[in-house]
């Protein structure tokens, strides 16, 4: 039997994917919100004058960057409960994995952005009597934050797509929902096409939103 593309199946699939989409969105937003906080803390620790903090952040970043997220997810969901005796719900495990994983990359984005600010800014802040922390907060961070937006956009898109890996720990997200639909109707071509379109729409949305934010934060409009 020759393959027959059925566009109507693609359209019918979208509403069925909504169930999975909810999880994908929840994990992405929750994971990245926590991941940004983790990343900001680890990034600041990485440039701290305190060697202990620097090392701690370094170990975190290298460990997470150096291992596949799939391994991290399976270790957390299947491995850790064997040691702790406490099972973690898939959704929570998913959010933790995305948070910890994106946090490591965001830490490097934060560190790079802060170090790219002219050291004269820190000197000027200190010279008017601000403390190091005040200078960081009022002078360095606001300038660094603007520079973080493009690489953060990349990371947000990567993390959104990475949520699809969480199907291996039984999170009913978008891709897994698609897989379940295929198991019933055998229309792999149409269903996975629809799944891909949904991811694409979301990633394009993130890119747009961040470009708008970047424009909004520009100091002098139009420049």
């Amino acid at each position: 039997m020759a393959f027959q593309f059925e566009p109507s199946v693609v359209l019918e699939t979208f509403p069925m994917l909504l169930r999975g989409l909810k999880y994908t969105v929840a994990i992405t937003i929750g994971g990245l919100a926590v991941g940004f906080v983790l990343g900001a803390i680890a990034g600041l620790m990485k440039i701290s004058r305190n060697g202990f903090f620097r090392n701690l952040a370094g170990i975190y970043i290298e460990t997470i960057r150096g291992t596949p997220m799939l391994v991290q997810a399976m270790f957390l969901y299947y491995g850790v409960p064997m040691a702790s005796g406490v099972r973690i719900p898939p959704l929570v495990a998913g959010i933790i994995v995305i948070a910890v994983n994106s946090g490591a990359y965001i830490a490097e984005i934060v560190r790079g952005a802060i170090q790219s600010i002219n050291p004269g800014q820190m000197e000027a802040g200190r010279s008017i009597g601000l403390t190091r922390t005040q200078t960081m907060r009022y002078i360095i961070w606001p300038q660094a934050f603007r520079r973080m937006i493009p690489p953060l956009g990349n990371q947000f898109i990567i993390s959104l797509k990475d949520t699809s890996l969480l199907m291996v720990i039984g999170v009913g997200e978008l891709l897994r929902t698609g897989q379940e639909i295929v198991a019933v109707n055998f229309r792999a071509f149409e269903v996975y096409l629809a799944v891909g379109v949904v991811y694409l729409v979301m990633t394009l949305g993130i890119a747009r939103a961040l470009r708008a934010l970047e424009r909004h934060l520009r100091v002098v409009p139009g420049k």
Partner: protein, 242 residues
């Protein structure tokens, strides 16, 4: 106001300050001149401890800057600095640049700080730029904002680190004019500069630093008219020939 005793500063193996003693009295304008790499900016940066002195003592307004226990944030507000590269905060309006110190360091309420900020911007001739951003200003205007930012702290002394060296020649005058006005009003100033005309006209005392040591100092009349040190004669010859 400032007392420097036997200041030494090394960067790694390189000793750039080799024992400097300097005393700046309240209301005095001291200009420091010397060739590039002579250590003159480093002396200035040791005064507010942007650089950590290797040895020696520095007392600013009664505070021992070389004592690690000294709260440098207070001292830095009393001995604030104007930089060669201006170092304005680009993400803040001109007015906000000026009011940040009074509000965060002096604890002034923001309405009062804005009033003070506008007065000071008027004083440096930039009242109409209050709500612009630094990138919309010329170099000379930026430096005048930086001076207003320093004045807003109501400091006891202002340290100027080559304030006109990054400016286009036609913009130097407007900055020197503001500095002359401050000098007339009795502000204590330590100025590292290449502007011999300014030093001659405004300084109470001129200091020549070369090779990490003070080679000669004196009132500008005798200092420029009758230099004793051969290195100073050589330096002045080169500078004035230009």
């Amino acid at each position: 106001m400032i007392r420097i005793e036997n200041l030494h500063k090394s960067f790694g193996d390189l000793e750039v300050i080799k024992g400097i003693d300097l005393h700046v009295r309240p209301g005095e304008v001291v200009c420091i001149i010397g060739p590039s790499g002579s250590g003159k900016s480093t002396v200035l940066r040791c005064i507010n401890r942007l650089e950590q002195p290797t040895s020696g003592r520095i007392i600013v307004d009664g505070h021992d800057v070389t004592d690690p226990k000294t709260n440098m944030n207070l001292v830095r507000a009393e001995a604030t600095m104007v930089f060669q590269q201006f170092n304005l905060f680009p993400h803040m309006t001109v007015l906000h640049n000026v009011t940040l110190g009074p509000v965060k360091v002096r604890g002034m309420d923001s309405a009062q700080a804005e009033k003070l900020g506008l007065e000071l911007l008027a004083k440096v001739g930039l009242a109409e730029k209050a709500h612009n951003y630094p990138e919309q200003l010329s170099g000379g205007q930026k430096q005048r904002v930086a001076i207003a930012r320093a004045l807003a702290l109501q400091p006891k002394v202002i340290l100027f680190d080559e304030p006109t060296s990054a400016l286009d020649p036609e913009l130097v005058g407007e900055v020197l004019e503001v500095m002359k006005q401050l000098a007339r009003e009795g502000m204590t100033m330590v100025v590292v500069t290449h502007e011999m005309g300014f030093a001659k006209e405004v300084a109470d005392r001129v200091i020549f630093i070369d090779g990490g040591r003070i080679q000669e100092e004196g009132a500008p009349e005798t200092f420029f008219a009758n230099p004793q040190n051969p290195r100073l004669r050589d330096f002045l010859g080169k500078v004035i020939a230009h």
